[in-house]
């Protein structure tokens, strides 16, 4: 139901993102999804890697002086057509939940559906809501298989 995400603190300065991706790349860690939240002074990078590499990725980052954490997010399947995302968001809104952030996968699944990674105000409640309304959520195994 939930998948693992690594979030990383980056200072907003030239080369910071490149350096970090280089570190992960040389460590043999492949990025399945990535989002960059930026402010004037700092950025938060959120990445999804296959779960075999989550712990080693976190260690690699910390060993190289990054502040990083693992958190759990939902990966929901969204119909790849106009209003597909809107329908999902309506569902979330009606349930009184809010989206803290959201981004999409870099790699498409074979099913032809889009996959959105969501951080919602109440993850447990959201997961139940999605189950009730048959919104498909990717499991960690499915993500790893991408």
């Amino acid at each position: 139901m939930f998948i693992k995400q690594i979030s990383i603190f980056l200072e907003n300065k030239p080369g910071a993102l490149r350096e970090m991706t280089e570190l992960l790349g040389k460590g043999g860690i492949d990025l399945l999804a990535l989002s960059v939240a930026d402010t004037q002074n700092f950025g938060i990078i959120r990445i999804i890697v296959d779960s075999a590499h989550t712990d080693s990725g976190l260690l690699l980052l910390r060993d190289n002086g990054y502040t990083a954490k693992v958190n759990h997010v939902i990966c929901a399947e969204v119909a790849d057509r106009p209003l597909g995302l809107c329908e999902l968001l309506s569902l979330i809104e009606k349930a009184g939940l809010s989206v803290e952030y959201m981004y999409s996968f870099l790699r498409a699944s074979s099913s032809g559906e889009a996959h959105m990674i969501l951080r919602l105000s109440d993850g447990e409640k959201a997961a139940k809501l999605f189950q009730m309304h048959d919104v498909k959520m990717m499991s960690q195994e499915e993500v790893d298989a991408l």
Binding site: F9, E11, A37, F42, I44, Y66, T67, K69, N71, Y101
Partner: protein, 442 residues
Amino acid sequence: MEMGQREHRIYNPAMECISRDELHKLQGERLAATVKREYENVAVYRARMDEAGVKPEDIRGVEDLKYLPFMEKTDLRDYYPFDLLASPKSEIVRIHGSSGTTGKPIVSGYTANDVDVWSEMMARTLTAAGCTSEDIVQVSYGLGLFTGGFGGYQGANKIGAMVVPMSSGNTQRQIMMMRDLGATLLCCTPSYATYLGETIREMGLDPNVDLKLKAGCFGAEPWTEEMRVRIEELLGIDACDIYGLTEIAGPGVAFECLEKHGMHINEDHVIAEIINPATGEQLPYGTPGELVFTTITKTGMPMLRYRTHDICTLTDEKCECGRTLARMGRITGRTDDMLVIRGVNVFPSQIESVLVRADGVAPHYMLIVDRVNSSDTLEVQVEMTEDMFGDTVSHIENVRKYITDQIKSVVGIASKVKLVAPKSIPRSEGKAKRVIDNRKLH
């Protein structure tokens, strides 16, 4: 005007022009009485004297001062708020305070006598800058626990001048009142004087035509001769330096006359020494070292050999103005890590106390002080740690805001907090370098 040719006003010629011999005799008597009072009434200091093997009767003159133990700012923190009082609490009529070295402020209790002594010091200060009962004194130092505002107010009162107690801030209103009421003297920090001058010029006013200001007494923060020239040009006035600290009295402990050649120390109320900060040994006049003050007329909270940590030199050469009081030069540095930012004393340890986490360790941080548009700025760079980090922007912004608010509440000044990457602040071997001061004040 050329030096030595101007008219010098002196508030109390009997004291300010006293012969050095008479002064030393008076200081000796007052010192002996103060030491006796302190020994009898302040348990903390009595214990310290006993430990040093000094009895009150050993202190008979100024030359015996060197036998007395020192007092430090940390004493005011450790014995906060009333354990250093040498008078019954019922005789204390006023409290003033400033920021201490950690979260708590330090306070000093004043008896009616102490308020009067301090008022006299400030009356001398303002008079030396040309103030008479005909003058209008605009006090733009903050009025409150901080001594600046009350100092200017009391001194002007004593002279019988008209006081305009504006307190700090609201520059437009300050200028309007200054114009409407025709203030002739200004008391504020030198950086605020510069800002006022710049704003006045920006408003298209010519101080020499539109204002009646003739002089100002500026202190509570370090400044330079270059700043003096700038303030004098901007405002068309004589800018005099003043020195003071809450622990001793407040502003007016020492003041410049219009010769602007060092600050006359009110030596009938305080004894100044210069010591080697490493050994505590007294240094002769003319040698730079740490300034130490002993109050000899204060009764509420007398200070014996109080270490200011300010570095300067003393001279007892007679001044062109006629005063015989010794003069101290500009403060050229600190023996500790205290910073003065917008007139507020700031210690890196205060910032550290805000940043300390549950495990008792503070993240690496760096204070960057600068002066932008005549106003001091403080940027606090803090390395992001895992317990501060969250995966949403709002979480991190909340952490940043929390730190900013805490600093404001503990230190009393606004700062810009910047969260930076771990290990991005340079590590130094030995004592950590916590401050980069780009103001070039010394």
